[in-house]
């Protein structure tokens, strides 16, 4: 029923390793992308002309940089950023380098997700906070981020699934994980069952991320829960 290749991969634990590598790359890249993207998104939101600290010039410059990185297709960005990866982690191959690439590609995306989540926070509530004398830092920490929490979590789930997709593409230039198994053992050596197994496992991972994210988001949302 299964091809010889599939059984060999399975018995040697390579598929299991692929799952682990994919999960590891995705989670670590998402976490690092939020380290950059979350503050960037907050700055984009508050320096907007409707924000609590309008700084049009800074907003324009940051917006341009974010748009620049977001408009490059990931596969091209990856190739272009190989020297940067080498500079940061010393290698341009393997998962360490792939994580650098994923973070470069995902941070601007995360920043826009965060920015739009924060935009949903009711302006009236922010004014109420201002009218009580809160300063901008307190508004960010005590009003903007807490009020946007459910939306931020939903955004993080979407970002994570996107990064998972990117991580599979990284296989084409030397990344590992399920993407690499599907391409080199499934596609290139004509073992469709290996490819489909990778597809199936990816779907499961996405489902788990999505379901866990939904639960956390629901728990933090105090607006509608009866």
């Amino acid at each position: 029923m299964f091809s010889e290749m599939f059984l060999k991969l399975w018995d040697n634990g390579l598929i299991q390793l692929g799952v682990w590598e994919t999960v590891y790359m995705t989670v670590l890249s998402t976490a690092l992308s939020y380290c950059i993207g979350l503050p960037l998104g907050v700055i984009l939101n508050i320096t907007d002309k409707e924000g609590i600290q309008p700084l049009p010039l800074l907003n324009r410059i940051l917006g341009l940089i974010v748009n620049f990185f977001r408009s490059i297709p990931f596969i091209i960005l990856m190739v272009a950023m190989l020297p940067v990866a080498k500079l940061i982690v010393g290698v341009s191959l393997g998962n360490k380098a792939m994580i650098v690439m994923l973070v470069i590609a995902a941070s601007p995306y995360v920043a826009r997700m965060v920015e739009s989540s924060l935009k949903e926070v009711d302006a009236g509530v922010i004014e109420a906070a201002q009218s009580m004398g809160t300063n901008n830092l307190q508004i960010v920490w005590k009003v903007l981020l807490p009020e946007a929490k459910p939306s931020l979590i939903t955004g993080a789930v979407i970002s994570m699934v996107t990064i998972l997709g990117y991580s599979a593409m990284a296989a084409t230039i030397g990344g590992t994980g399920l993407g690499q198994i599907a391409i080199s053992y499934g596609h290139q050596r004509f073992n469709p069952d290996v490819t489909w197994c990778c597809v199936f496992l990816t779907v499961i991972i996405v489902q788990i991320i999505q379901e866990a994210g939904n639960r956390i988001a629901r728990r933090t949302d105090k607006r509608y829960r009866a």
């Binding site: 009711d122 009236g124 509530v125 004014e127 109420a128 906070a129 201002q130 009218s131 009580m132 004398g133 809160t134 300063n135 307190q138 005590k142 009003v143 807490p146 009020e147 929490k149 933090t220 949302d221 105090k222 607006r223 509608y224």
Partner: protein, 252 residues
């Protein structure tokens, strides 16, 4: 006369080319209740928003106990703590329960201890009949309850002056009363307040002074009985007529 809490001198507010408030001057003394009435779009709400520096002003000056209130003031957060504002649509923090809504600013802005702020919040809540709602979230409350919480939230900051911006306009009729009763109670305690409202009976009962605002200028100001019974200007008469109803033809 008691001490001046708020002084407004020649205030001008423009949105681009549109002048919304034109040369407004007004003094509010300690313990005084000023009610601002006028047709929609006359600038009533904008006036309150200017007093709290939620809007930038284009001319004139606003001072709270001698300190300039302006979006450009360096100590704006400190001044704003002394100006309580209650909004038409409550503006409670949806993700915080009632108690945390009230104690957020006292603990984070005024750096008061959580215990002390919570104790005062509960005392104030029980005064407005909501002590058992301390742990509820805003979505679990009726409009009237939300607005009473919003009033308590403003009171807990110990403001020098309270601003009420059409606080009953979004409420069902039977909830208007419970909110207005709270405000009447505050007036009796001698709180200094500026109230923008469309409830004329209430205005008359609560006001020490009525301001009639129309097209961005103060058309009339004075004693409430005088204003409601014998308005001086034709514009005010016309405005007050919109609140009375008569049948032209009775059934025979």
């Amino acid at each position: 006369m008691s001490e001046k809490v708020l002084e407004i001198e020649h205030l001008v507010k423009r949105f681009d080319d549109l002048t919304v408030l034109n040369d407004i001057s007004l003094d509010v003394h300690e313990g005084e209740v000023i009610v601002v009435v006028g047709p929609s779009g006359c600038g009533k709400s904008t006036l309150l928003r200017c007093i709290n520096a939620l809007e930038e002003i284009q001319g004139g000056e606003i001072r709270l106990k001698g300190e300039a209130v302006s979006k450009k003031s360096r100590n704006l957060p400190e001044i704003r703590q002394k100006i309580g504002m209650v909004f038409q649509s409550y503006e409670l923090f949806p993700h915080l329960n009632v108690l945390d809504n009230i104690t957020l600013a006292p603990t984070k802005v005024q750096k008061r201890s959580r215990e002390e702020a919570a104790e005062e919040a509960l005392a104030l809540l029980s005064r407005v009949g909501l002590q058992e709602k301390a742990g509820s979230f805003p979505r679990q409350l009726s409009g009237g309850q939300k607005q009473r919480v919003a009033i308590v939230r403003a009171l807990c900051m110990h403001p020098e002056i309270l601003l009420f911006d059409e606080v009953t306009a979004a409420l069902d009729p039977e909830m208007v009363r419970e909110v207005l009763d709270v405000i009447l109670g505050l007036a009796e305690q001698g709180k200094t307040m500026i109230i923008v409202t469309h409830e004329m009976q209430f205005a008359r009962a609560v006001a020490d002074k009525v301001i009639f605002l129309d097209e961005g200028v103060i058309k009339e100001e004075g004693d409430p009985d005088q204003f409601f019974d014998h308005p001086k200007t034709e514009r005010a008469k016309e405005f007050l007529r919109t609140f009375t109803f008569e049948r032209k033809h009775s059934h025979s």
